[in-house]
Each structure stands twice: as C-alpha cells, then as structure tokens.
Symmetry: C2
Subunit: 354 residues, 2 copies
Amino acid sequence: MRIALIASPFISVPPKRYGGTELFIAQLADGLTRLGIDVVVYTNGESRVNAEIRWLYAKDDWPIEGELYASLKDLNHTSWAINDCWREVDIIHLNNAPGLVFSRMCGPRMLYTLHHPHLPTLTSFYAGFPNVEYVSISNFQKEREPLNRIRTIHHGIDLAQYPLQTEKAEYLSFLGRIAPAKGVHSAIEIAKRSGIPLKIGGEVQPLFRDYFDTQIKPHIDGKFIEYIGEADLAMKNELLGKSMAMLFPIEWDEPFGLVLVEAMATGTPVIAFPGGSVAEIVQGGISGFVCSGVEDAVAHVRTVRAIDPASVRAYTQENFSVERMVGDYLALYLEMFGEATLVGDNSARRQAAA
Amino acid sequence: MRIALIASPFISVPPKRYGGTELFIAQLADGLTRLGIDVVVYTNGESRVNAEIRWLYAKDDWPIEGELYASLKDLNHTSWAINDCWREVDIIHLNNAPGLVFSRMCGPRMLYTLHHPHLPTLTSFYAGFPNVEYVSISNFQKEREPLNRIRTIHHGIDLAQYPLQTEKAEYLSFLGRIAPAKGVHSAIEIAKRSGIPLKIGGEVQPLFRDYFDTQIKPHIDGKFIEYIGEADLAMKNELLGKSMAMLFPIEWDEPFGLVLVEAMATGTPVIAFPGGSVAEIVQGGISGFVCSGVEDAVAHVRTVRAIDPASVRAYTQENFSVERMVGDYLALYLEMFGEATLVGDNSARRQAAA
C-alpha cells in the first residue's frame, strides 16, 4: 500500500516555526514510515521528513502575498501533486481544500483531514465531494460538518519530546498567541485571584499589539506576572512541565488545542474554559478541569494538586500519542484500501495489472 | 467535433446586464451552432443560449460574496464541468483560470481565452500549463504573456444589432463606466475646446461616485454636456450612431475595448487616446484617430467628418464581426483537433473506439 500525503506548498514539513498542519503531516509520515508503509509527501523543497518527498516549489513562502496568488499557487501545486501520484498510489491524503475536486475523477481513494475552523463556505464545498473520506480533528468539529463519511481522529504528539515532570512548582502557566480569543487577560485574573504567580509564553502578533499593550503588559511585573516571550521546545517543557497547572481560558471554538496535550504530556493538568475541542481533551479530575468561568477556575486552582502528574501523563499517553494517531489513520487507510479492492477501482486495477 | 465552452457559474450566458465574458461565450456558442458544430456550454441554470447548456448552480450569483466563496464555487463548478465533458468532447474551451490545472491530465485538448487584464500572478500561473492553447484578445495583451502557444483572436460583435447610420448629428458621444480611467473628464474638455456638444452614457459606480460628483456633474447642463445614464442596446445605437464621433480618451490599458467596435459598427468614427488594444481597433483615417492628447483630439474632431460612415462600417464588418471571430476560433479548434488526432490523444482514441 502506497500513501500520498499532500501538504500545501507554503510551509515546509515539518515547519521551521508556525505550521500546525505541517507538524501533523511530518509526524504522520514519520509514524507510517516506521510501520513500514510506503509514503510520499508532496510539500516544498525545504522539507526534511522521514519519507520520500516530492515538490514543485523549492522554497518556503510564508506569510502568503495575497489571496489570488495563494489560491492559484496552492491549486497549481496540488493539481500537479495529484497528477503525479495518480497512477502510483492507493490513497491520497489531502490536507488542503483544492485537491478535493479531483475526487470526481476515477483515481485513488481520497481522505481529507479538516484542519480549518468551521466556515459555511468550506462546509458547502466539502459536501460536493461525497466520495471522500473526511476526518475531523474533534467531535466538536465533526458535529458542524454534515458529511456522510466523516469520523474523528484526534491529533497526537510525540510524548518522548515532552518528558513527565513529577515535581511541580508554585506557579501557573499560559502558552499561546497573545490574543483576546486565547483569554490571556482571564489567565491573569485567575492568577491574581488565586494568589498564585503566572508565567506567560507566546507570540505577540502585530494584529494584537494593542491588546498586549493595554490588557496584558500593564500586569507584567516580572515576578507575579511574568512574560517569557515565544517558547521553543525546551522552554515549553520548562514552562509547562514545572507549573502546577496550565491555564487555558479560551474564548473561541478551537478545533483542536494541541497545547493542552503538550501540557498534559508533562504531567501538568489543565484548567480550561469550555469551547471547541476542550471537553474532549481535558478529562475532568483526570487531566484537569473544564471550568465555567474565572471564579470556578480559581476554585480548581486550589484543588488541582490533588491530580497525580503520572496519571495525567498516562491518560495523555493512552489518548493523544502520535502512535495512537498514526494507528487510527492506518486503520482508516486499510479500510479504504479494502473497499477500493472490493469495488474494483484504482488500487484493484493496479493489483490486477501487477 | 464536439466543443465544451466553460463559463464561470456567477453570471448567466448571455449576461442580463454586466458580463463581457458571458456575452462573448453566448456569441461564440450561437455562431458555432449556426455552423453546425456540436457545442455544450457549462454555465448556470439561468442561461439561454442557442446550444446545449449544462449547469451545477441554478441561479446567477453576482456580485460575488467574497474571495474564498467565489474561488471555491468557481473551482467546484469548473471541475464538475470538466469531469462531465471529459470523455465526450474533443476540445475544452476555458474562460476562467482554475480549469487550467486539468490540462496536466490526459484528456481533451484545452484552449483558454484570456479575458483578464495582465496580472503577474496569473501570468506565472498560465506558464505552468504549456499544453494549453492560449488566445489573447489583443496583441497588446499577447506581448505581456510570455507563453509558447498563444495567438490573438480579436472579439467581434453581431453587426446586425448595430445598423449603419449614415446621417450624423452635430454632437460627440461618450459611452462607458463613469470612472477616471475611462477619461470622461478628458471627453468633456475635448468637447468644450471643440465647441461641439457631448452626450455621455454609462453607469456611475458607487466606487467612483466622488469622481462623478466633483469632476463630471458640475459640467452637465443638459444641453452642451448631457448625461443620459446607463444605455441599453437601443440607446447605444441612438447615442453612438447619430454622433459625428465617439470619444475614447482612455487612461488605462484595456485588453479589448468592445465599445470601440460598437461605435464603428454604426459608422461612427472614434477619436481615441492610445492604450491597450486601441491602436489595433482604431485604424487611423479609416475608423477614427488615435490622438496624443486633448489638443490633438480637438484637431481631429474638426476633420473627422471627412471619414465616410459606410467605410467605417465596412472596416468593422471585415475585422470585428462575430462571424470573423467565430471563424477564427473554429479554425483553431480544427487545428487542435487535427493535432490531437495525429498525436493519438483523447479525440483519436474516441474515434478509434467509434
């Protein structure tokens, strides 16, 4: 069985910096290769992943220049990739929308992972391609996409990169973009009302500079409220792993909150607000608490030390490891491959010809 | 030989109001049908054209709601259309960009008419599809598109709808959007300096309301400078056909100025500024004059009556009739069909199978 993973051409796999979808593709490609599956990744020429890569565009190109430019470049790359792999793979795993249109034509079975937040425009576009196997990254997301063939496969992370830390220090952590929807202001309020210091990591985007300057910066004193800037893997492990709890007082419906899993992997429970995928990731009393607001969060900060870091880690290992994710995708590929063989489409024809 | 003409899904063929590309497609489909060619037009369900129509979207949808919405809808419609006609036509004639990506796959030969002004982003996109036969609508446009397979086919109009009027009255005409790039202000200046009245027809777009209010409206007195609003076919024939000359003091590089041909069809010469396709359409001393500026235009207003309306009409009939345009496209289709048969691609296979 040969699988084509198609990324967009803008960001390398894995990403040098920003790029959740590209990190996902790198982990999936690597995991499948380890299991002996034949994988080709269509990406740009700067990618370095443990699988064959093919590319039309040599270089990263992010942020994008403009809508028309980006949509034509993505369409060009994707159609090139599909034409290139059409006659030689069994399954095409898409991660960007334009490739879906090729599902109308007789070729390999297609799978599409929904990486974007819900948009009615995208939803009605998806509905035009009922032969595609859709994968939502949370059940929250799945419920908003009325598609016939859709199932949830939660993302997973490489837990080896996030070692368990059993000794927690007396501070709370926050990690994420410094943006209103991420609730940094609520994190500060929870810290102040709990009397527990807060360390904040994450990027200040130009778009939210004013938010940072007026809502966040005035609270930063370098002692009780500390801002450590953007965090690489080592800093993440330090920031999250040593904290008694990570705060996630989100104000939007994020399809999948990867940072929740990163914190939980280090054995740190999460004190979160509901929204999007939160309730599917944060298991109350086991990996943290989903709280109704600031007051509820403050109450849970007081009791959070009752949760054993080792059991947070174990829960995460069981549910959000990259191995579990790769296994789920492989099972889906095999199911699709079996169906394809039964109905006599591309794979079956190739096998017959072999 | 069966030809698929693919329009975008947003505007019906022919257009009810705005839509140069859709008017072109309607005329081409009608002309080909008259010549006994088998034509299918992919458009929306409101279209009424003298050929088979097929559609995915029932209704007009203009102006478009947003970039993402429009690009996905266009991609969906176009890929559906191409898949639908893939196995049954000899040539696919595209008029919108996304369909080009299917030229990578083995199927019918493709032709693409460039309806858009030059954009570097589009140019580099086109260059990725060297098997497509490109048609520019002026040589001016062709020179800006470095493509291997490109030729110019000028647009044509149905001259029966624009009867020759040999009696001209003592006024100048202007027809076009009331926008700075169209040079309405220069038309007024030419009229004033010539001492010849001017009648202006055309839509005031919300975007250029300020231009109309400050640069144009103060000059309108209903006698020497008259504004007649938007013009339908009968009004166009009246406005253009009776005027001693149409002014076209353009300030941008329009790929093809259809209004020039409309005026010339009625036997009215054009006094134009250079830019884009103007010099290819306005033949100096025969169908009007291309002038260097307002002063030069004023000089030519004085001599323009020396041009015989019947010879303006004859020149237009010879060069810009819909029959000439349809004939040129048919010649190209036949050339492509011949090549396809020789190289043994889709058409040849279908013939062999028949």
